[in-house]
Amino acid sequence: MKTHIDGRKAAPYFFLLPFLVFFLIFRLWPIVWSFLISFFELEDGSIASFIGLSNYATIFKDPTFIKSIWNTIYFVIVYNVIMIFLAILLAVFCNSPIIGCKKAYRAVFFSPIAMSLPVVAVVFDLIFARNIGFITSLLGIFGVEYNYRIFASMTGAVWAVILMRVWRGAGYYCAYFLAGLTSIPEELYESAMIDGANSFQQFWKITLPLLKPMLVFVIIMSTILSFQLFDEPWILTQGGPANSTLTLQMYLYQTSFLKQDFSKGAAVSYVMTLLMLAASVVSVSRQKDSASGRR
């Protein structure tokens, strides 16, 4: 039987083939494989025996893992609240008709994300340095002694990490909110002004509701990215003191690459995925509720 291939119909698939091959081998297969190995014991890189949910049970019994979950959730919530508040504030500032040199401000706000992370870490290290840092010098002018070592404090270190991340992220997400602001019709503000609404009322009743789609997008993206927090605490504190800045991603790295337990590491990564998924679902469903007028 002769099979006839319609060249016109087949051509798009041929063009897609390089991507599909790449995607299947380098994206999909690692996802499937890592899920599989989370239920198996590995020996010399190969599957040795089925251990069911044993890896999952083991990590949930590990207090360090539980601590890393709480640290991550704490960070995600605190960071996102502060960062989004600041990003909106910066966007409104940049979008205000009474502000000049808007492009310059935008460039300045956006620049932290373009800076190399190790350089930023060096800068923050020297800002907080107890004896030779910027804060010490600044307070010294007023005769105030600064004797706090933030990176050695179990409560302070996490705030140093949050501050650094906010400093990097606020300007970046400000660009998203600026895009959202420019799509709000000017007439709405004019009508509100005629009705006697002040600036705060305009922001609360017009700007914020109409920014909601962008807000949800930023929350989801920022939440997913902040669940993967690794670089900042790794450079600044290595997860210390006493695991107070240890995040899930760092725990995953320690398990997989330092302790070389890849199957347990795979289990950690799927717990992370579930947490990110849950956070995203909650954000999206709240947006839907809000859009349909439910409270």
């Binding site: 060249g7 087949a10 051509a11 041929f14 063009f15 083939l17 390089p18 091959v21 790449f22 590995l42 010399d44 890189g45 360090t64 060096v122 290290d125 020297l126 907080f128 340095a129 107890r130 004896n131 030779i132 840092g133 070592r149 990176f151 050695a152 404090s153 179990m154 270190a157 600044l236 504190t237 290595q238 997860g239 210390g240 003191p241 006493a242 695991n243 107070s244 320690q254 690459f257 330092l258 302790k259 070389q260 890849f262």
Partner: protein, 417 residues
């Protein structure tokens, strides 16, 4: 015709993906421009001059250095060995992390090539590189402790140190003028376990017995922790994250008077604080007051091995032997990354008897005392556990005694040792 061309183009694009993925690894026998066989060498050290010297002295192979951090080497090597592909011909790692690779069964047996130089190493290092009776690597260097100190500060305050109690007494005086006697790793991170291990070694102590059992009720550990806790608690030591700009900044600002550390950090000091040249001197590690003799603690040192994925393992092993097991190679290691020779005959070479102008003419090698063999097991877990307990102690949540017991119990529980 057009269709055929389209299909061919797509197929070529698809195949090019695989072609791109077929990266040259150790398994390649790529010839260098000069016709030599290339051998890939993973290291984090600036050993270029030593490698160049070896490349010029023979016509068989060209060692190609791939530089990355030792954390990256450990992570990438672990994956490559498990995957059966992607490992280099030769790699360098820290002695404390080496056992996990040595015991993987993926090291080339170097016995036939290097057995004649093994007598040149201390027995502890011979044991370290031997697995199932086969020699799996060689040690190019060791990292015993010495005490670097600011000669100008010591002279100004009339400080003379022989024991650890002398350190504390002198620290009380320096504190009044805002000078710290020592930098203390706080948060401890991975450095904490190594620094405590080094001080333990200077007391003939260990975390583990030679056969890998956790030492319980470890009095040496308790004494070391008491010393560190006092340094932080009384403000005699400065809590710092090691090797950060703040860390070097405090050195340069004259805030730190001394540093008990491994010899390899001499090179780090010179690189990061060149303006302090001539102000430093070196002395042996102080003696603990309850001990009769002073010892150098042991920080670690490194190991170089050949993987079983190498297509030219014998040639690779010859390079390792030259660098680690000949006087010439050890002198190059000393010149390029300030290595303290692991191969004992090297100490007779004049290079290792010269003084260093940075340290006011002191010769660092002459400040090294006897060391006790230090035993490394499950080091990744051990580092994390000790780091956490030290942080809790520095935060006042554990006493030194409680921290010592918590360290022993947690290591035993987590590693089953």
């Amino acid at each position: 015709m057009k269709k055929v061309l389209t299909v061919l183009l797509c197929m070529m694009l698809s195949l090019s993906l695989f072609a791109g993925g077929a990266k040259d690894t150790a398994a390649t026998e790529t010839a260098a421009d000069n016709g030599k066989t290339k051998l890939e060498f993973w290291t984090w050290l600036s050993s270029d001059d030593a490698i160049d010297a070896y490349n010029q002295m023979q016509d068989e192979v060209e060692i190609v250095k791939v530089q990355m951090s030792h954390a990256d080497i450990n992570a990438k090597l672990a994956i490559a060995l498990q995957a059966g592909t992607g490992a280099p011909d030769i790699y360098q790692t820290t002695q404390r992390y080496y056992p996990q690779f040595r015991d993987s069964g993926h090291m080339y047996d170097m016995t036939a090539v290097v057995s004649d130089v093994m007598d040149g190493y201390p027995s502890s290092l011979q044991d370290l590189v031997t697995y199932n009776g086969q020699i799996a690597g060689l040690t190019p260097d060791v990292s015993p402790s010495v005490m670097f100190y600011r000669a100008d500060i010591f002279e100004e305050y009339g400080i003379e140190i022989e024991t650890f109690n002398d350190l504390i007494e002198a620290a009380k005086i320096l504190k009044e003028d805002g000078i710290y006697m020592l930098p203390i790793f706080n948060p401890a991170g991975s450095w904490g376990a190594n620094a405590v291990g080094m001080l333990l070694g200077s007391r003939e102590g260990n975390y583990f017995t030679p056969d890998g059992k956790v030492i319980h009720d470890n009095e040496d550990l308790e004494i070391v922790l008491e010393f560190l806790d006092q340094m932080v608690d009384e403000g005699y030591g400065e809590s710092l994250t090691f090797f950060t700009p703040e860390f070097w900044g405090e050195f340069k600002a004259g805030k730190i008077a001394a540093w008990i550390m491994n010899t390899a950090e001499a090179a780090n000091l010179k690189t990061n604080a060149p303006e302090l040249s001539g102000k430093w001197k070196i002395m042996p590690t102080p003696r603990w007051d309850d001990k009769d003799t002073a010892l150098s603690g042991y920080w670690g040192g490194t190991v170089i091995s050949v993987t079983d994925q190498s297509k030219n393992p014998e040639e690779a092993a010859k390079f390792v032997k030259w660098l680690c097991g000949t006087v010439e190679g050890q002198v190059w290691a000393g010149k390029t990354w300030s290595a303290v020779p692991a191969y004992e005959p090297a100490y007779d070479d004049p290079f290792f008897q010269e003084g260093d102008p940075y340290f006011s003419g002191d010769n660092i090698y002459s400040m090294i005392l006897d060391t006790t063999p230090f035993h490394y097991f499950d080091w990744a877990s051990v580092e994390m556990i000790i780091g956490e307990k030290l942080d809790l102690m520095f935060a006042g949540q554990l006493s030194p005694e409680e921290a010592a017991r918590a360290i022993e119990d947690t290591i035993a529980a987590e590693t089953g040792r």
